[in-house]
């Protein structure tokens, strides 16, 4: 039975992704959990897995093309009883219809397997006044593809065949208007860049987002010299991640009534024990303090469920387990927060192994779909950067974020006497819609308690 593999949603803020590499070809046998495609999103490059066994029929989206969340990426013949399932883990909606405000060059080849035509196909046909009844579909089950429509339009002489790389809707063609992709136009407007001064490298010389990187905003449109564009894909990916993160954080601050708590934890005992344990171990088996912090957070999150979950449509939905988000800074700028699933069931040593693997793959761009689906609570650890405390911004739709600063030596009262001890500041940013300060205080107190008593290997 035929099943669809669609662009997975990797978080509330993801709108589209670009296929970077297919790991399978038509005819390949795949098993549940196999990585079939590498997708670049604004957040990161990720490896997407299939969730049933089957055989690959057709790859619908080519390498280099962008597709919206929910767009068809490939068709498979699924084996066994799971055949009727969609192959992505999270059921996702069909691509949103194109609207004038958000014309998406992203729905390329998105072809839902419905009797009705995809929004893109309908939109293209409407633009060209094409009657779809007269067009032969080459897609599975006779469905119309973008190519079919473009071919039909080209046959009538309406479309430039060289423009095939991008849907005609993506690049405005009004006289006197600089050609640019909608995204590039919006971004240029936001940055104060005059498109007239940018050299386009897209289809027909259209300005695409990559062309905006490094361009100086015009202060005086008349006097500013033409600025040569620079092609820096890496810088552009980092720029896109910055924009995506900025949007998400702005949404968080707009929608979430944050409250903040802080506590100072004396960590002399546990850190000494960690050091002793590490002295007995080869380098590869050593545990970083970060793993202890994650372990303590996961334990506390499991004990105070109101900190662990999502705020969805006005209600708090507790997580089924602690999927612990870890904010990881990327070289060259940017941040990803993939998750360690079922973290509350892991020992400190297990979390260390998983953290090391996760950080390595986050920084080389090989995260998995399952790791980027929304965590239930996130930790940010700025200890290595030398700051004492961090009051973070909650990642929607989560309801709490835990922050750790660096370990510093401070005067500390012990049994009525003053001593110098290593201390650490743990903070909680929490969503007041989901919890109160009372819950937050309980959470931080439990976290501090667990920090004192880590199960070390």
């Amino acid at each position: 039975m035929v099943a669809d593999f669609r662009m997975p949603s990797l978080g509330a803020d993801m709108e589209a992704g670009t296929v970077v590499e297919w790991r399978v070809a038509p005819g390949d046998v795949v098993r549940r959990g196999d990585v079939v495609v590498v997708i670049e999103t604004e957040k990161a490059t990720i490896e997407a897995e299939v969730f049933v066994d089957g055989v690959v029929d057709q790859l619908v989206v080519e390498v280099g093309q962008e597709a919206e969340v929910g767009a068809l990426l490939a068709t498979l013949t699924a084996s066994g009883e799971e055949a009727s399932l969609t192959l992505t883990e999270t059921p996702t909606a069909a691509p949103a219809p194109l609207t004038p405000a958000r014309p998406a060059p992203s729905a390329v080849d998105a072809r839902p397997r419905h009797v009705t035509h995809s929004p893109l196909v309908r939109h293209l046909a409407e633009q060209a006044h094409l009657d779809l009844v007269a067009v032969d579909g080459t897609g599975a089950g006779g469905a119309l593809t973008r190519r079919d429509v473009e071919r039909a339009i080209a046959d009538r002489g309406y479309a430039d065949p060289h423009a095939r790389a991008a849907p005609p809707v993506a690049f405005g063609g009004e006289p006197g208007r600089v050609k640019a992709s909608p995204l590039a136009r919006r971004r240029a407007a936001a940055l104060g860049i005059d498109l007239k001064h940018v050299t386009g490298t897209g289809p027909e010389g259209a300005v695409v987002t990559a062309d905006l990187v490094g361009v100086t905003p015009s202060t005086d449109q008349g006097a500013s010299p033409a600025v040569a564009s620079r092609h820096r894909p890496a810088a552009d990916a980092s720029f896109r991640r910055r924009v995506a993160l900025g949007n998400l954080m702005a949404r968080s601050k707009r929608e979430i009534p944050h409250y903040y708590l802080s506590t100072t934890v004396e960590v002399g005992g546990p850190w000494d024990r960690l050091r002793e344990a590490n002295e007995r171990r080869p380098v590869a088996g050593r545990v970083l303090p970060a793993a202890v912090l994650l372990w303590a957070t996961a334990q506390a999150a499991a004990e105070v469920p109101v900190m662990n979950g999502h705020w969805v449509d006005g209600v708090f939905v507790p997580g089924d387990a602690v999927h612990l988000g870890v904010a990881i800074s990327l070289r060259g700028g940017g941040l990803v927060a993939p998750s360690l699933r079922d973290a509350e069931r892991c020992s400190v040593a297990e979390l260390m192994v998983r953290l090391r693997d996760l950080v390595g793959r986050a920084r080389t761009g090989a995260l998995r779909t399952s790791e980027l689906s929304d965590p239930t609570i996130t930790v940010t650890n700025l200890g290595d950067q030398g700051v004492e405390s961090v009051f973070g911004v909650i990642y929607p739709p989560q309801v709490a974020l835990v922050g750790f600063g660096t370990v510093v030596e401070r005067p500390w009262a012990v049994d009525g006497m003053l001593a110098v001890r290593p201390v650490l500041t743990a903070t909680l940013s929490a969503d007041h819609r989901a919890s109160d300060g009372h819950d937050g205080a309980r959470f931080l107190t439990l976290l501090a308690h667990h920090l004192q008593e880590p199960e070390l290997p």
């Binding site: 050091r275 590490n278 002295e279 080869p282 380098v283 590869a284 050593r286 970083l288 303090p289 970060a290 800074s329 070289r331 060259g332 953290l355 090391r356 950080v359 390595g360 200890g383 290595d384 950067q385 030398g386």
Partner: protein, 82 residues
């Protein structure tokens, strides 16, 4: 192993961790943590990689000797403490 060889090993391992660092242009006295922006996970990977390459355990209590490329090289060039 002399200091030059030791530095080469460190730089080669470093290239896999922080590809944007230009080894030929690196100030040997630059602080690995602050100036090269290596966090504790990067540093663990660096020590792990170097340790495997030179076949020598590098205990955690020696980390304070490994703050710069020059110091790391000098450490590897000296015989291990018994």
């Amino acid at each position: 192993m002399n200091q030059a060889d030791a530095r080469t090993v460190v730089l080669e391992v470093l290239a896999g961790i922080a590809p944007e660092i230009d080894g030929t242009d690196l100030d040997p006295d630059a602080e690995l943590g602050v100036e090269l922006d290596l966090d504790s996970m990067d540093f663990l990977n660096l020590v792990d990689g170097v340790s495997a390459r030179v076949g020598r355990d590098i205990p955690e209590h020696d980390y304070p000797h490994l703050t710069t490329l020059a110091a790391f090289g000098a450490y590897l060039a000296s015989p291990p403490a018994v």
